[in-house]
Symmetry: none
Subunit: 231 residues, 2 copies
């Protein structure tokens, strides 16, 4: 799905930023880069791309946004803008990266603007959606490749939700066994009963909060069994 | 709340990246920057900071991470790493930016490593938590300020819709004391050395992940002291 999204960098002024953009794309599984009337693709671009040089090599160049729209098969055109407008400005109601992630379509193109002036108004008007990252009101204008990284991250996260990094988490029963073992250790200790009760509660709390893996469960079982034998 | 978070950039090699870091911080309302043994703060830093020059001007410099931990009041030390480890590797179970955002504490410090080598293993081992951004497996290593922007974005987003109830959290120093106490208990046990090492790591992990309150810290100290006496 992410491979289906096209990143369009409109009139980038420095080759380094093309490199940063390519790297951020590859970090989140995006592949298709289009450059509109870019600066010269000097070695700076490849330097900052690090392991994403292939994305620059495979990028396409168009002289204008209109030419690009004629040739490419785009369903949803998304513009990005750091300037948040209230709902009074009908033209510039913007959505969040989360919203885009939830509503992403096949053949979506995301436009990023010039480093200094972003996308012009007439370019934003061409878009189906305007995307704005929630930021501090004090300083809402982000570096273009930072903004790109945040948006790609949000898209990637949504896609990933279906295939989480699987950690083998200890089961409810295993955690019950562990708490039982800890309770036995605590009961053997020479201390007032209310302190023992508190201790049992605290162990229960931290086991609950720390999302124990199975491996960690086994290690802790071993240690408390050993403590029991050694008391 | 975000103003309370400290960003620690460990041995940055290029001034430009310090500027990018400062800008990303200001975009999301963070203010406190600490530099550990940084490169020279040349004009490149201020150039790339754009409207976040104040953050660089107000940054503090320490010669080492240990010196910083002595002087600063840190409760939760979070390391960042692009290398994801599975749950078999006890040392490197990592959490997502979302998890951190949901569990952020007063006086949290987030460490970012060198542009080339990131944080070293011994630095990651000092941390309560390791934070890893979900990325493409093909190219998981992000540019440091891109990673920072993604993490700050996630924290900002969460702060926007919550205004946390403040809990009195155990300090870094208190957690160190607790780990020392636990290590002493474990060292007294009759079990193979590699199992002892694993046990110490697991305790470290769950203490890091469970956001101990001061009250819980005292209860656990009491219980491990008692175990020590009773072994």
């Amino acid at each position: 799905m992410l491979e289906n999204i096209t990143v369009v960098f409109v009139e980038p002024k420095t080759a380094g930023n093309i490199g940063f953009m390519a790297r951020a794309m590859k970090n989140f599984g995006l592949k298709k880069l289009i450059l509109i009337n870019p600066c010269k693709l000097s070695k700076e671009a490849y330097y900052h791309a690090v392991h994403a040089k292939d994305i620059i090599k495979n990028s396409k160049v168009y002289e204008s946004l209109n030419k690009m729209l004629e040739k490419e098969n785009i369903n949803l055109l998304v513009g990005t803008s750091g300037v948040v407008a209230g709902d009074r400005n009908i033209e510039r109601i913007s959505v969040t990266p989360e919203y885009l992630a939830e509503n992403i379509q096949k053949n979506t193109a995301i436009l990023f603007g010039r480093e200094d002036h972003g996308l012009y108004s007439h370019e934003l008007r061409m878009c189906d959606l305007i995307l704005t990252i929630p930021t501090s009101k004090e300083y809402p204008i982000m570096n273009v490749s930072h903004a790109a990284a945040v948006i790609f991250y949000e898209l990637f996260k949504k896609m990933e939700d279906t295939c989480e990094i699987e950690k083998e988490i200890a089961s409810y029963k295993e955690k019950e066994l562990l708490k039982k073992e800890i309770n036995e250790v605590v009961s053997k200790l020479d201390m007032p009963i209310h302190k023992k009760r508190n201790a049992i509660k605290v162990f229960k709390n931290i086991i609950g909060r720390s999302f124990l893996t199975k491996k960690e469960f086994h290690v802790l079982m071993g240690i408390f069994r050993s403590i029991k034998r050694n008391i």
